[in-house]
């Protein structure tokens, strides 16, 4: 227990939960989530977005409830307490693999955007190295620095929301009618397609132990989630109005293509700015996920954090270099989506039920012993 407690000096204000949750939810998913939802739910896709958001609120509620039972320890610690050292380590290992896959996917997918839009002839590993150097800076400062970075980066990017005005001008919102034409199963499938896009708020499980007054994170977490949900809903509505059905389904980067229409007399193509601004969002996101991975590994085995990070970089470098085509990325994306639905939406409930049962049994046994 003693090794995991964080000195009070290094704890951060619970309000930073907001910036951490928002940055871990918004990534490349925001640039291209419309297609997957629209394929399932048609022009009622916006309804699926709302439904997925509501579900996310429920699972955040469960996450905080579970955490408060375990004195706001990190999820790794909770697993160890519940399933013992070996069982906990196995589950933690699976979680670490998941986060590794997510961060590698985010990194590679963002590099894909860079390759398609700006630098088609730069090798993948060059971008990788650039990211790794910058992520190392954040990790050197720990969660204190990372939370501030994510906050500042969010502020820097937040004005991009105003750009939605330009596609809004030509949007035809008659395309939203007739409302709710899709049946329940289509809407549900659309909701599932939002899984990986809206997931990511489960970083709450890991960061809460670093907060000064951890019981206060509940409100901030819901606020962050609400902001992200509104953002996704807005982008979805504008996209449905702006595009025709077949266009939205065929386009790989709906948000970026939509912003192609933004032009000023001094800058004709604004999406290049958006792509470069997205760099800092992706960077903050990768800092958080790398931090989560390193926390998990150093808890399991006694290795220096620096060495873990070097190993992590090497593994990611090899994987992103191996993923060469869009098809491979799509396979990884589908896989992550499925896992994310389970880990972000269902696992908090499962964990809560398991915790109740196991703790209940232990309590009863203790009473019997007495």
């Amino acid at each position: 227990m003693s090794e995991c407690t964080v000195p009070t000096r290094r704890k951060i204000h619970p309000a930073f939960t907001m910036s951490i949750v928002i940055t871990s939810q918004i990534t490349v998913g925001m640039l291209a989530f419309q297609k997957y939802v629209y394929k399932e739910a048609g022009h009622d896709a916006w309804f699926s977005v709302i439904a997925a958001g509501i579900c996310a609120h429920f699972s955040v509620f469960m996450i905080v409830k579970t955490l408060s039972r375990f004195n706001f320890n990190s999820l790794y610690e909770i697993h160890n307490q519940l399933f013992g050292k070996w069982g906990g380590s196995i589950i933690n290992g699976v979680l670490i693999c998941y986060w590794l896959a997510v961060s590698t996917y985010v990194l590679r997918n963002y590099i894909e955007v860079l390759l398609i839009w700006i630098f088609p002839d730069v090798p993948i590993w060059v971008f990788g190295l650039m990211f790794f150097v910058l992520i190392a800076y954040g990790l050197a400062g720990g969660l204190t620095v990372i939370s501030v970075i994510s906050f500042i980066h969010l502020l820097l990017v937040s004005w991009l929301i105003l750009l939605l005005y330009f596609p809004l001008k030509t949007a035809d919102f008659h395309q939203l009618t007739p409302v709710i034409e899709a049946n329940i199963s289509q809407l549900f499938k659309g909701m599932l397609a939002m899984g990986a896009t809206i997931g990511g708020y489960d970083v709450l499980f890991y960061t809460s132990s670093h907060m000064k007054e951890p019981h206060r994170i509940h409100r901030y977490a819901h606020m962050a989630l609400f902001i992200v949900n509104v953002l996704y809903l807005m982008i979805m509505l504008v996209s449905i109005g702006y595009y025709s059905p077949k266009q939205i389904v065929n386009n790989s980067w709906d948000t970026l293509t939509m912003l192609k229409t933004v032009g000023f007399s001094f800058l004709e193509r604004f999406e290049y700015i958006v792509i470069m601004m997205w760099f800092i969002i992706v960077l903050a996101n990768l800092m958080i996920t790398s931090w989560v991975i390193i926390q998990g590994i150093t808890r399991m085995v006694k290795v220096k954090r620096k060495n873990v990070y070097i190993g992590l970089c090497l593994v990611q470098l090899i994987i992103i270099q191996m993923l060469q085509t869009g098809d491979q990325l799509a396979v990884l994306s589908n896989l992550i989506n499925d896992v994310a639905i389970f880990l972000s939406f269902m696992y908090p409930f499962v964990l809560f039920v398991m915790a109740t049962i196991i703790l209940g049994i232990r309590c009863r046994r203790r009473k019997e012993h007495i």
Binding site: W117, D121, T177, P178, P245, K246, T261, G263
Partner: protein, 381 residues
Amino acid sequence: MIIRIIRSRRKRLVLLIMVLVLCIGCARQMIIDKLSIVIALGYDQSQQEQERIRTTIIAYHATDNQAKNTLLTSASNNTSKGVRTKLNLKMPTQDVIGQVRVIAYGEPIARKGIITLTDTLQRDSDIGTNVYLAIAGGSAEQIMSATNKQQINMGEYLYELIRKNVNYGIIPSSNLHHFLSTYYRGGKDPVLPYLELQQNEVVISGVALMKDDRMVGRLNEDDCLLLKSAMGNYKFDSFELALSLKESNHHYLPRISPLFITLTNIKIKSNIKLAQEEGPVFDVRIRVKGQLKEVSEQIDLEKRETIHALEHAASRQIAAQYEVLFKRLQQMQVDPIGYGAVYRTSVRTKQFATEQWRDMYKHARIRTDIKVVFTNVGITS
């Protein structure tokens, strides 16, 4: 201890510089003086048997001579992107396509279908969606190699010509995004401006009506305005109407035919609603507001009744013209106004195919409700 820190710092610095150097070395150099910046593209049917497409480009490249910085060249191949390989063999400078503003399709190729040629544009992240598409009467090469009196670059000339008429004039929006979104939307057909060479001058002589991606007909300038005004809310500079008052029973108006009136600063609001699913029947509601600036005969405009009678006559005239236009569009089986799209968004139907709509469109009827209001007739001075 201190030495160790310096060492590690130096190491970090070296690592950073290494990364930076790598980045500089990897991206391809693009020096603006050594680029040909393509402004306009033209696609034509190739004359040769073994090649499909002839592409013409107008590019800008920096030279010492200001008057000769435009480059016009063309080549043929089977795909539009494949042509670039051949074009590069003709040009000493690297061509870049990010600044393309106008893309013209020759009429013969447009009559066969242009979707494969526009599809490649949306796959290219370099090309923006604000590019204007147009149909060139004769061939695109002919239009693009014409000269203009201002002696400016022909690509820019076409761009400004189309842009002005789309933004403030009677040409419906024709940029790449609008073309594609209309093409992919069930129950609506795209329209593109029709460029023509008249007395060695390039003019927009109307719009080309597309059925899916094939050009099937043309509308002249007068119908353009009616067409655009039915497509949404727009503002126009001016609008001339020929009123026939011969059989009119207004005693406030002279029995002259035709009486020409011109409105300026026009604001048009239009709305289409599905009135009956069976049929189908549509309600078309158009409100025209404008200043009456010119009348071809001396009429006393002091009386309110005279003005009302004129407004009424103008409304009837527009309604009559609109019905004629609608009949023509029905005969050609094209739906640029998007009645099909209105039908699609008003009826809960799972299966809505464009083919099916074309059959229904033949029997569709409209009920027009058009009102013209003169906001001002007075003498301003």
